[in-house]
Symmetry: C2
Subunit: 321 residues, 2 copies
Amino acid sequence: MKALVFDGALRLEERELVRSTPDEACIRLIKAGICNTDLEITRGYFGFKGVLGHEFVGVVEDALDPALRGRRVVGEINAGCGRCEYCLRNLRRHCPHRSVLGILGRDGAFQEYFSLPVGNLHLVPDGLSDDQAVFVEPLAAACEILDQLQLQPHQQVAVLGDGKLGLLVAMVLSQIGCDLSLIGRHPAKMRLVEDYRVRTIPSQETGHLGRCFDVVVEATGSSDGWHQALSLLKPRGYLVLKSTYHGPFAFNPAPLVVDETTVIGSRCGRFEPALRLLQTKTIDPSRLIAYKLPLVQGVRAFELASQPGVLKVILDADDRE
Amino acid sequence: MKALVFDGALRLEERELVRSTPDEACIRLIKAGICNTDLEITRGYFGFKGVLGHEFVGVVEDALDPALRGRRVVGEINAGCGRCEYCLRNLRRHCPHRSVLGILGRDGAFQEYFSLPVGNLHLVPDGLSDDQAVFVEPLAAACEILDQLQLQPHQQVAVLGDGKLGLLVAMVLSQIGCDLSLIGRHPAKMRLVEDYRVRTIPSQETGHLGRCFDVVVEATGSSDGWHQALSLLKPRGYLVLKSTYHGPFAFNPAPLVVDETTVIGSRCGRFEPALRLLQTKTIDPSRLIAYKLPLVQGVRAFELASQPGVLKVILDADDRE
């Protein structure tokens, strides 16, 4: 079978077929999405080597439970030990012994077949297209903010960054009814959320705003974004870090103390809320798809996904597409 | 009257008497405490020039309300505009137009007489000594943590730093019944909390602990403290910043995202909880007093307070002491 492998360089390889085990199902890939984390792994961050990919929709090819076989699934990407404090609190995404699909100690979804623990899988409702289901993982990460912070309709909220995750976060937070602004550099991208009750503000026009937001979600992953977010935040505000950062930058914690700011790191989320938002047609993330390429053109797909301003690139297991 | 003034250098000056106004009471100083913030102002941080001092107990010399005259008081240090969003939410300590006693736009308490808005004053119960009442302000800052974070008895909590504020924080948090550790460099200081159900751990012996705390209160104000705190914190942990930091240091936010850490800046607190803890004899902070000097020896008192390892230095308005 074909697999998109990174071991210092990215290339398509022929690999032996993955098989199911009593605990893990074998999944046949339908579609997978390229995430910024994948791009950063290929730039040397995280130190991961192996098959990339963690956003997918697939079909259970084989599993101990016959009821699962042939079913369309998405899967949570953190595989926990099942015995630690975090796993027992249903927080296996923080298990210190975890592997993470295509990110840490476990081959990912950019291959024709791969495996995940049965407990990580969620059935995809019939009404959802593959193009929607492939967004469940990043949409769950956007929903995670609402699990961490009780966002209130009276609050002034900004999402900083109009990349893939920033747009999904804006779509999710708009459901709360708060006064929501998306701050970004790309008018064309920001137009994708214009029917979601989101005010869009060009990055260069935030200078006059002052400290007007109760909550800022930083989704740029840059030190500029961090500092801009703090400059826009009211005293006692909440800064949500919803991005991958690479490496240190200079930072003075004194203003966090003076203003009693709360900074909340935010990563993966539960899949159930994301599936509900998709199933009820509340959110349609498939409009974020920029390109679809077959898995065998994975290297080319990464080149496209790396270009500035390109939104979601989808890999399709079916060569014919 | 005598006043301890900083205008690039610290010196005792003779100043004209402060008078009350319809909104502000004139307070005669009894005792005042030297805080690390005072020391840092004399090192050039904050840019404040004027009379220093914000921890005090005094007597109302004059006020429009005759019921206040002659009463012993302590006072919240932030004077708000009374009209903004923060003042109306009883959060004048975050009023963007505030002045702060001896820190920002308002002469402080290291003088024989000074003024504060009547609404900032709290009567001191008869059972409290002056040596206890002078700690209400920093004790309120320690209590602020409990207003910001719902600390739970099942949690593993560490206070990092055995300075004045770290010790007060340990005393306050011990009341919750959580599993509490104080991590510091000075065994003699850490012994001051030994009857408060606090485990004491020498800083150099934390290497083997691993990530074992749900909450770490960083009270060292150093970048070493920040990094050590994060190394001790469990995933999904809370880092409370309870200190003054000066200047930037290199910092990588990526681990905050991966571990979904929450960082909470914490500054001044409400006086009521601190007064209750003192009145019920739950906490006796007067054991933190290292030296008492008369106000006229203020420059010498600052020299003592600046020496490594010295705890609270008290200025006494009465020359004879």
